[in-house]
Homo-oligomer: 296 residues x 2
Amino acid sequence: MSEIRIIRSLHEMISHAEELQKNGIRIGLVPTMGYLHEGHLSLVRLLDGHCDLKAASIFVNPIQFGPNEDLAKYPRNEVRDLELLEKEGCELVFAPSPEEMYPEDYQTYIEVELMSKTLCGRFRPDHFRGVATIVNRLFNLTRCSVAAFGLKDFQQAQVIKKMKRDLHLPVKLLFGETVREDDGLAMSSRNAYLDEEQRNLAGYIPKSLEWVSREANVAEQDSDCLRAGMEDILNTQPGIKIQYIEFVDPKTLDPVQIIDRKVQVLLAVYIGKTRLIDNIEIGPGSKMKPFKELTV
Amino acid sequence: MSEIRIIRSLHEMISHAEELQKNGIRIGLVPTMGYLHEGHLSLVRLLDGHCDLKAASIFVNPIQFGPNEDLAKYPRNEVRDLELLEKEGCELVFAPSPEEMYPEDYQTYIEVELMSKTLCGRFRPDHFRGVATIVNRLFNLTRCSVAAFGLKDFQQAQVIKKMKRDLHLPVKLLFGETVREDDGLAMSSRNAYLDEEQRNLAGYIPKSLEWVSREANVAEQDSDCLRAGMEDILNTQPGIKIQYIEFVDPKTLDPVQIIDRKVQVLLAVYIGKTRLIDNIEIGPGSKMKPFKELTV
């Protein structure tokens, strides 16, 4: 297996990408913030057959964090990340410093306006502007032909899809299903913040999603009733604080009242200081993929 | 001479551009709002030697006009534009409709923040956001390797340069000197709004610029004194209303007090309802290119 190449400078990334492109080598990219888990690695595998060289970026993007969020304590372990990526056949890792990415006179931002203001955007006002900007730049820096994102960050996936369409980005997008722990909890680097008790509580998130998925597949339902049912499940645990539970159109992210078609349920909860998000597709035509070992 | 190809659909533009790119044909682009003059045509010539196929776009971009600006009456003459472009060896013209470019659910915008707020940006708050967004999209739609812009729109040129640097756009930028009429007036599609009397008044704009250029090359000067001198020249004509006269660093567009290096002087004036802009480089090291037949 060839040694993985690590690039830290913008200049080197651009000239290497140009060289690869000139030689007809199609680059596939998995943009990450590091502290990798099986969800990220499944995205690296998702690139198979879509490109000639698999690359990942590791960059904790400061501009997508709010002033009181967890930028400083976001978990990092680059040595382990590189080992995991190499095992998956990743040949290139772009891991720049924040100073390299955001020099003092940096001032260009991309905003997908409507979609960035709902759901998580109500509580994290500049978050998706930060995401759209960094993703656009990573596409340009790596000249990737294809890029893979996880559906755990459902709103992010839709924002990136919309940016691609609106700006005509020459990048094919792939989306990977959420990878879950045995009790159904969606994998997330932020799960590392949870102590044992909190980790057990977190299992109620997938329980509430599995419940709403079953319930909505029975008959046409009103989203307010379904939300109340989910709240009942989550509120049995005083350690869980619901931030939002929303029922939306999967493409536009506009709210949906009656579940008479495929609808995406998204939620954000706090367990202690840790904010966790998850989502599921429900309603007629949706494929319920049962989480492992779930018992409500 | 081959017939010029006109493309109006986004879909056709993208697939044609991909085809050209696949065949190794480097596209050069001059983005325009039509109603072409010698300034635009000089930009088409500027592409010579930098690309394999010369293209222009004609699109009056609604999102760069404010609510009380001249979008509806902006002059148009596509038949003549196409003739002029064909004569210059332009092989491709992209001329989409506003509905094609901005479908109802369009929502992605690019902003070069600091630079868009000064100078013209003080009076046209969303103008440069509209410019950055459309230019970025035209680059992606045409997959151009090189693009040419005029320095008459000096702030626009700097905003585009900064967007390219910040977002790492894979496009080479060329900038063409302002082309002027015999009395020094910068060519602009908006000159067509002027009646004969107003057209004569407009000649005082280049007079004021030539004056400040000569004056600043004599000795270190304070920009406030130079501004006052320009105001004296322009205010002799009651038909001219000054919107701003600013002395700035050519790269950052930050204000400059003492002219001890190359400084850009930018101005905007109203003559009747017509807003005209112009600019000149002054100070040590600047090359004064005398306007033709000017006598102050």
